[in-house]
Symmetry: C2
Subunit: 228 residues, 2 copies
């Protein structure tokens, strides 16, 4: 079973540790700040307070026996992030994911032994830019020759109108392969559920909250996802 050490319980590290715990991964959470260690201790298997630039402390915590460690120390402690990563490599942790705040920091982390480097602010900056342009696009699987399958929320201007009425295929160049729709007429205590319609009827009007699964040229799919 995976066991993972998460080092650094700032906002990012805290969420990594909680996300792993939610997915039933045994987590050891570590920070030099006692309050943060206490905050997380009820949610993870083990939480310890020590300075991770100390090799014997890492060994006492048996981190050298773990298959995986995430170094979530941020840009307020760049040297600690680098030294911790180097020590984890030295004591033999097979897979090390380390957080970088700049491209130079990322280079250094790879040099000292990180297998994977992640820059959360940079990656999210790119995703938000994408969401600004195409707010509806939730997934995109590129296929051959520039074609793609994608999942997107129904363009607001489509609501109440049907595919044939909107001439979706001729105007937008995409095929609505399927759609997911919220089930209506639920009893107040019934949990929300979705119905799935494969090859929906061209006469079927779209409803608010419909999720469309479409196929077409990638650019046509993205244009559709950008519609207001």
């Amino acid at each position: 079973s995976i066991e993972c050490a998460v080092i650094g319980l700032g906002r990012f590290g805290m969420e990594v540790a909680l996300g792993l715990a939610r997915r039933h991964v045994p987590v050891l959470a570590v920070d030099q700040n006692r309050e943060l260690v206490e905050d997380i201790s009820e949610y993870v298997d083990n939480a310890l307070c020590f300075d991770t630039t100390n090799e014997s402390a890492l060994r006492d915590a048996r981190i050298h026996e773990m298959p995986l460690a995430v170094v979530a120390i941020g840009d307020n402690h760049v040297e600690d992030s680098i030294l911790t990563t180097a020590l984890l490599r030295q004591i033999g942790v097979p897979r090390i994911i380390a957080r970088a705040s700049t491209d130079l920091h990322a280079k250094i982390l790879r040099i000292v032994g990180a297998n994977e480097v992640v820059n959360p602010e940079k990656e999210m900056g790119g995703r938000i830019a994408q969401r600004v342009i195409a707010p509806g696009l939730t997934e995109l699987i590129p296929l051959s020759e520039g074609f793609a399958i994608a999942e997107l929320r129904v363009p607001p201007s489509f609501i109440g109108r049907s595919m044939s009425d909107l001439r979706v295929r001729s105007r937008y160049g995409v095929n609505v392969v399927a759609l997911r729709r919220r089930a209506r007429d639920l009893a107040p205590d019934e949990p929300a559920s979705t119905t799935f319609l494969l090859n929906p009827s061209p006469e079927e009007p779209f409803e608010p909250n419909d999720i469309l699964i479409v196929a077409g040229k990638e650019q046509d799919v993205k244009n559709l996802a950008a519609l207001k």
Copy 2:
């Protein structure tokens, strides 16, 4: 054409502004720190230095005429983030995306007028937890009855072996619908390209860097993506 004001040029805001500029969105970047404004000025249409908690400064910069603003101020300036968001709503910016550092901060931002709230560290924490468990899974489109289509990198243990040899369908419960493979035998100056194989032969051995497009029960797909 979209025009977007990005307020706050920390690591996240800087990446949002650069990401938008790369996608040809006209961007006005704003920060009270002159150095950051100078750093970004060559990459965006317009960069201004002022305190965004000042309504007349916002109007002088014509932000009230923009369709969209991103408030990327972080947790070192929570009140500035809240007041800036409230002012943007007051001067009439139709779509406001605001960054929150906690759930309470997010609640307040929505109350004062943010249309969308994003917590980059929290979202990335969840994504990294997912990547720890299923490092190969790049896209997932849930379909009906727990089925899904997904894109994932070839499990390392599959390389050099064929689908029938591995008994992929009977052992893992998924259908390999298609695969994308790096083109071989390129001239040194030829750009990298991929070949796309629809319904690949069950006798075809997998190659390193193959990208598989599979269909099957969502849990089976995730199990496959978690294989070492």
